[in-house]
């Protein structure tokens, strides 16, 4: 009889202290009573998928909105609109009035005053005086 054929007896000798006892059985009962980890994982899957979908949608929205918002600020219409607001009009007029205050020769003053009398109307003069009263 070969030694391999004696493996059951040999194993009984060398591993005779290794036995499935009652404590292991108790652990089995405990583990079987708990919900399996696979079912817990399965219940987490839809939640994780929903979160991924939401984040993907949000990223896509931001990616689409970014270029659109950039276009709005860079478009020529927007520039003209912003320039034509009352505040910018006042600023440009103020800048013009400052230029007018620069020293000029009496001849130039006469010419310019005559031109102003011809071109300017009283409404614009009112607009010029209004911002100077502001702090």
């Amino acid at each position: 009889m070969s030694k391999l054929d004696q493996l059951p007896e040999i194993t009984d000798h060398v591993l005779s202290g290794l036995r499935a006892d009652d404590s292991l059985k108790y652990h089995i009962y405990q583990k079987a009573a708990k919900p399996s980890s696979s079912s817990v994982k399965a219940s987490r899957k839809p939640l994780a998928a929903a979160l991924c979908a939401i984040s993907a949608v949000m990223i896509a929205v931001f990616m689409l909105m970014g270029p659109l918002m950039g276009r709005n600020t860079a478009s020529p219409d927007a520039v003209t609109k912003s320039e034509s607001t009352p505040a910018t009009q006042i600023q440009t007029i103020q800048a013009g009035s400052e230029l007018d205050q620069s020293p000029v020769t009496p001849e130039e003053e006469k010419e310019s005053s005559s031109e102003e009398e011809e071109n300017e109307d009283p409404a614009q003069e009112e607009e010029i005086t209004e911002p100077s009263a502001m702090p």
């Binding site: 070969s2 030694k3 391999l4 591993l15 290794l18 499935a20 292991l24």
Partner: protein
């Protein structure tokens, strides 16, 4: 209670479980008393780690409770060992890197107190079987330790009978080389 559950469940191993009326009448307690130690020792031979072997045994019997397979009478142990070997294989593959980096765990022996005197002469073979590659170890344990025939092992491991015979032959020659001077075969 659990014994009654065993006759109601699914059949995930058709060759060892049956949908017919011949369902194993053994209760969980009876199956545990008869086969749990064998499952534990085969797992220990395979993994060389007592804690993991106990975990595998636990998983096997938890699966028995939760999946409730309709076991064919006389094939209960085959089903348990098949599930245990599958689990061991998973753990063995999972721990491959650890084994390579940290080395193979020492095959510790657990003799009963009155068996220590006769221990020395049998340790060499047990350790040599533990050192065999996983594929060889499976067939050696099922054939020489559990007493299954080649065709039954082929059925359990989903491999051909020729492969089982080949693995047994190569395992024997490896053991012969490993245990020089001892009459293994």
């Amino acid at each position: 209670m659990i014994g009654s559950l065993l006759s109601l469940g699914s059949t995930d191993h058709p060759e060892m479980a049956s949908g017919e009326s011949s369902v194993s009448a053994l209760s969980f307690d009876e199956l545990y008393e008869r086969y749990a130690t064998d499952v534990l020792r085969v797992s220990y031979y395979y993994l060389g780690d007592r804690q993991r072997a106990e975990d595998v045994t636990q998983d096997v019997f938890v699966r028995l409770i939760t999946t409730c397979p309709q076991l064919v009478p006389g094939r209960e142990k085959a089903w348990l060992l098949k599930v245990a070997l599958n689990r061991c294989r998973d753990l063995w593959r999972g721990a491959w890197l650890k084994k390579v980096v940290l080395g193979h765990p020492a095959f510790e022996l657990f003799p009963a107190d009155d068996e220590i005197g006769r221990l020395a002469e049998n340790t060499a073979l047990a350790e040599a079987v533990n050192r065999l590659p996983a594929g060889f170890k499976e067939v050696v344990l099922l054939h020489y330790y559990q007493g299954y025939g080649v065709s039954e092992i082929a059925l359990m491991l989903d491999i051909s009978e020729g492969t089982v015979s080949s693995r047994l032959s190569r395992a024997r020659s490896r053991l012969q080389n490993d245990l020089k001077g001892d009459d293994v075969i």
